[in-house]
Amino acid sequence: MQQRKSVTQEYTNSVLLNGTLETPKWWPYLVSILSFFVLVGIGLFFVQIYYGLGVTGLSRPVYWGLYITTFVFWVGISHAGIMISAILRLTQAEWRRPVTRAAEILTIFSLLTALVFPLIHAGRTWRIIYWLLPFDFARGIWPNIRSPLFMDPIAIGTYLTGSTLFLFVALIPDLAVLRDRTTGLRKGFYTILAMGWRGNPRQWKMQVVGGILLSALMLPIFVSVHSIVSWDFAVTIGVEGWHSTIFAPYFVIGAVHSGVSAVVTMMALMRWGWGWNDFIRPEHFDALARLLTVVATAWLGFTFLELLFSLYGLDAPEIALREMQIFQYPWNMLFLLFLLTGFIIPVPMWLFKRVRTNIALMFWSSIMVNIGMWLERFLIIVPGLSRKTPFVFTWESYTPSWFEWYILFWSFCWVTLLMLLFSKVFPLVPLFEQKESEVFSDSVKIGRANVPTIFREEEE
């Protein structure tokens, strides 16, 4: 049951634009601290380019480590956008409204971060033009389209383009609101971006149709992006732990799990940071937690299926790999932590309405899920490589260097910084969606109780 407080349009405007037209007290401090960390990270990246990848803890055969784990992690987070804005939009879930923009920009910024990681990870970043662009006209050698690593930038690029368009279409009415409330240079900026929005019925119709079309067009990306990322691993016949046909759906569902959790984290932070208590309400956390419970349970099923499929063949190297992954210190501790944080602690918590509507508990449980999901990728990538073949002679372990840890930390600072900068220019909660839901909502008298409902006009 949705408990809603009726708010006026003026109130909506003044509260939701408080991050854009005014500056919260903490904002300048946080932005400067994050900028410092981000700049240090960029500096370290150049140090790595100068000296070589020896600064990482990678070895032979553990050629992929923290960087690729973090790459997969951020691509996973990006699934928030497509799940919330596209699928929930097409299924007309009312509670998605305040969340859509946050999810969408989380998608865009996490994709931008994910795209950086293969560059950081590559041995010769400055030569990457060979890889991303069909550049080598003179010799007639094109990028290898059979390689999932080449499909990655294409899939992510498509997703990024689609999400950006989607975000922009949804921003136009709010940009017009901002245009009417600013002066000077900022007004000019918003005027150009608002593209002459006056809010007449034809413009509204086109905006809605555009949004729905983009959602529908982006649906295939829901499947494709993380499937392709999973093929990075699944096509390697040499690595027992990776060469599995279940990887594509397993990764997709895991991505939704971590992406939607990240949206919950972000919503809690938005509620605390900007005080949007009347707009991001416990009922939204409740709905997301219900969705997460289903997704997480499906994901757990895939996790065990993956284990089952791998052990079914009784291959000696595969058993050696699983033995290390699940039973050997320190991997067993990581595996336990992964199960606890990915499912065992948060999901039973979400079964209780008291938890689902408690913002602090939802915040911590969603952070927990993402720790678990990061560990999941780590536990797939690293043990798989270090127990690669029957040649026990070449088995090797992996300890990430502080360099890699810093770059992981950098990625979080980078995404947060981008979000904060975005919040200064654009509203994080869509104003028009909020007002639209206000228009649609009504209450019906059933017996003596007033039941809040949503009325929608049907298309003729």
Partner: protein, 248 residues
Amino acid sequence: MVIENKDRNWGMVIDTDKCTGCNGCVIACQVENNVPLNDQNKFERGRVMSWMRVERYWEGEFPEVKARFIPIPCQHCANAPCEPVCPVYATYHNNEGMNIQVYNRCVGTRYCANGCPYIVRFFNYWEPIWPEEMRNHLNPDVTVRSRGIMEKCSFCIQRIRRGARKAKEENRELEDGEITTACQDACSTQAITFGDLNDPESKVSKLSKDDRSYTLMPHLNTDPNVIYLASIKENKEEFQEEKANSHD
């Protein structure tokens, strides 16, 4: 001058029965191909570069222990798993049955190394450094690889090209055994044989049809051009039993 010959299929036969585990092939390869030197730190970090490595396995329980050696270079698979995964075609198959690494194109994604089930691809984590007195000892026919790229056994392609060019200048066909690899030259027990697998008369193709011949991890269907000869057991029954029991 085009000296590639499509009729050739270079291959190697390694007789593990003859291998004494002396690591001579490893050193010869290191010198011939300008492979960076390995120091203690590299061993500890698991970043050893050796295009040819001799793996040592113990067989039996103490005191009845036997050391078994197997030298493993790049297998030059006909169905190489490293090739399709490279996004920039830095590794490809040439017309002479060899798997080629193009240093100039390589961007260092290390994906090929993950694809390779034999772990014979090596990554330059640092810029290679030789001691001052050794800098003039580098082989001028072989590129010195910079940091950030992959490298691996090339079947001593510089020797193949030199031999083929010489034969062409002298207007004759290449003879079997004319081209040798560095590891082969260094092997004191002549466990390594190199030659054209497409020539039915060559020593390698005869050896490759030996009863003892096998390839590494045939279940992966990589079809390697490096063929091994099993070590000889004291009694024949034991060997046949082992062969029947093997998964492959």
